[in-house]
């Protein structure tokens, strides 16, 4: 469990605190999305989770280890893996395998164990075939997967992603997010995902919205999206599909208001059409509407 207790933080150069009174508990196995406009303090907050920053007052604990204890930092950084925005400034190795080996080398593991972790981590993100490649020759999506592998090689329980798709095109974004969701669903890794793109929220069970250094909402995605009144002024929209469905609902169509993905929306509309037309045979699902689109 990552637990922050009344964090107050400010940078030396500014007088206004960046984080005020933040108390947050993230349980193991959760998928938490942290959202907010630029400059709301979300990056500053997650940098407290692995002790990159220390609070001016308050405390941060990771599985009971305090980040203000210098002796615990190595252990904390193994437990909390972090992936940053810019794929180019977090890769240090001259080959893919060497880059993944950087973390395990820092904690002094013996060569055979490093080798095993490198192969394992690369397989888990699906780029085992790129082992010997020079990171410079990879696409930004592959670089970001490499950064995730680099974090996985430390066997973390928590994976913190700081706007990991900011530099990626839509198909790479999808590829990277698919890997993150798989790690969460199949391996039970706790994911903390920072983003300002509402459409990336899919898969998370909890959304934390920040504004001016405070947490203003902390709830399930559906309930958070019910607070358009709070989100709008912050420049945060709700997912386009959700908005569409709510609009339909206001117009008198009986659809669920808590829909977050295109596929859900599709199912909902189809079943609605089925029931209205009272067609005897049930619909064939989304696949028949979009034959070339794989059903997730």
């Amino acid at each position: 469990m990552i637990r922050t207790e009344k964090i107050l933080f400010k940078y030396e150069s500014t007088s206004r605190p960046v984080l005020r009174d933040i108390s947050l508990k993230i349980e193991e196995g959760e998928y938490v999305t942290i959202m907010g406009a630029n400059g709301c303090g979300k990056t500053t907050l997650i940098r407290h989770f692995n002790g990159l920053l220390s609070p001016w007052s308050g405390s941060v604990n990771v599985d009971g280890l305090s980040t203000s204890e210098p002796g615990a930092l190595s252990e904390i950084r193994q437990r909390v893996g972090m992936v940053f925005q810019n794929p180019d400034s977090q890769i240090v190795g001259m080959s893919v395998e060497e880059d993944v080996a950087f973390g395990p080398g820092n904690i002094g593991l013996p060569p055979h164990e490093i080798l095993e972790r490198v192969h394992n981590a690369l397989e888990r993100v699906g780029i085992g075939g790129l082992l010997k490649r020079n990171p410079h020759t990879l696409s930004s999506g592959e670089k970001q997967l490499l950064a995730i592998a680099g974090a996985l090689a430390m066997r973390p329980r928590y994976l913190v992603l700081d706007e990991p798709t900011a530099y990626l095109d839509p198909s790479m974004t999808r590829q990277v997010l698919d890997v993150v969701r798989r790690l969460h669903n199949e391996e039970g890794i706790t994911v903390i995902h920072v983003t300002h793109d509402m459409d990336e929220i899919v898969g998370s069970q909890r959304v934390v919205v920040m504004n001016e250094g405070r947490i203003i909402l902390d709830d399930s995605p559906t309930r958070v999206f019910n607070r358009v009144d709070i989100l709008r002024p912050l420049g945060l929209g709700i997912p386009k599909v959700t908005e569409l469905m709510r609009h339909l609902r206001r117009m008198g169509t009986d659809v669920r208001p808590d829909i977050l993905t295109i596929d859900e929306a599709c199912e909902e509309i189809l079943s609605l059409l089925d029931s209205q037309k009272k067609i005897a045979k049930p619909s064939a699902g989304c696949g028949s509407l979009f034959p070339d689109r794989p059903v997730e």
Partner: protein, 265 residues
């Protein structure tokens, strides 16, 4: 062989030189360089023979190696000319003419210097051709590790070197991007009078320094998040000496002994 066209490039392979321990290769290069610089024509001939034997062993042709050192040719030519013109001795017949004197001694000295420097560069090229930058850095780190007793942070130096190498292409890419952005706004590079060209380059340097500093900042956060701390680290590949390495050391040591013996006589 098409792809080995620049100095300092690594070409993966399985030859004897590829498989040698990088420490042995670096130490041998240092030893050979000393011998080349101290040695006379005898030593030069012997070392050239070694070079000519080694290149086909790694499946490189001496000619393609020579082509790789083409960029340093002007430097070599200058070196040759300086020795040719400024060594005092008995002049070769048409000279002195037009206030220029070329002597037998100058010709001999110039040729010797040219030969020595070509050999140095060719051997250095052979090392980088057969040793990946990773191996080179691990090798240097290990060779320098005795310096740790003087509190010189050899691990940090090695990491610094490898990151510098890693970011070379990234920085080049960034430079191209900045250059193109400035060209789109009407800047002209490589044209016009010298003063203007220098100013154009100057306008590139500041943005590049700024962006590298920002990158360095991000990078330092990233390596800290990945558990980096000062002090010893372990590597994925540990260096291990094989029979070949010991054999090479014996060969190098006997060469050195021969060289010393010869110079003492």
């Amino acid at each position: 062989m098409r792809n080995m066209n620049y100095f300092g490039q690594f070409v993966p392979g399985t030859s004897v030189l590829h498989s040698l321990d990088p420490r042995v290769k670096i130490a041998s290069l240092i030893g050979l360089s000393l011998m080349i610089l101290r040695g006379d024509i005898m030593a030069g001939t012997m070392i050239s023979a070694i070079f000519l034997c080694l290149t086909p062993l790694c499946r490189f042709t001496p000619l393609s190696m020579a082509r790789a050192i083409r960029p340093v040719m002007p430097f070599l030519a200058l070196l040759f000319l300086v020795h040719l013109l400024f060594t005092k001795g008995s002049p070769i017949p048409p000279f002195p003419a037009w206030a220029v004197t070329v002597s037998y001694e100058g010709l001999r000295q110039g040729a010797l210097v040219l030969w020595r420097f070509s050999l140095l560069i060719l051997f250095a090229h052979l090392l980088t051709l057969t040793t990946s930058s990773t191996e080179l850095i691990i090798g240097m780190e290990r060779l320098l590790s005795p310096l740790k007793i003087f509190r010189i942070p050899t691990h940090d130096i090695a990491l610094m070197l490898s990151m510098a190498l890693r970011f070379m292409p990234t920085l080049l890419e960034e430079m191209t991007r900045i250059k193109e952005a400035q060209m789109a706004r009407g800047a002209v590079f490589g044209q016009g009078p010298l003063k203007r060209r220098i100013r154009a380059v100057g306008s590139l340097i500041l943005p590049i320094i700024l962006s590298s500093m920002r990158r360095a900042d991000e990078l330092s956060v990233a390596i800290e998040a990945r558990g980096y701390r000062r002090g010893p680290r372990t590597h994925m590949k540990e260096l291990r000496m094989s029979h070949r390495d010991y054999a090479s050391i014996v060969v190098m040591a006997s060469l050195a002994a021969l060289h010393l013996f010869e110079s003492l006589l």
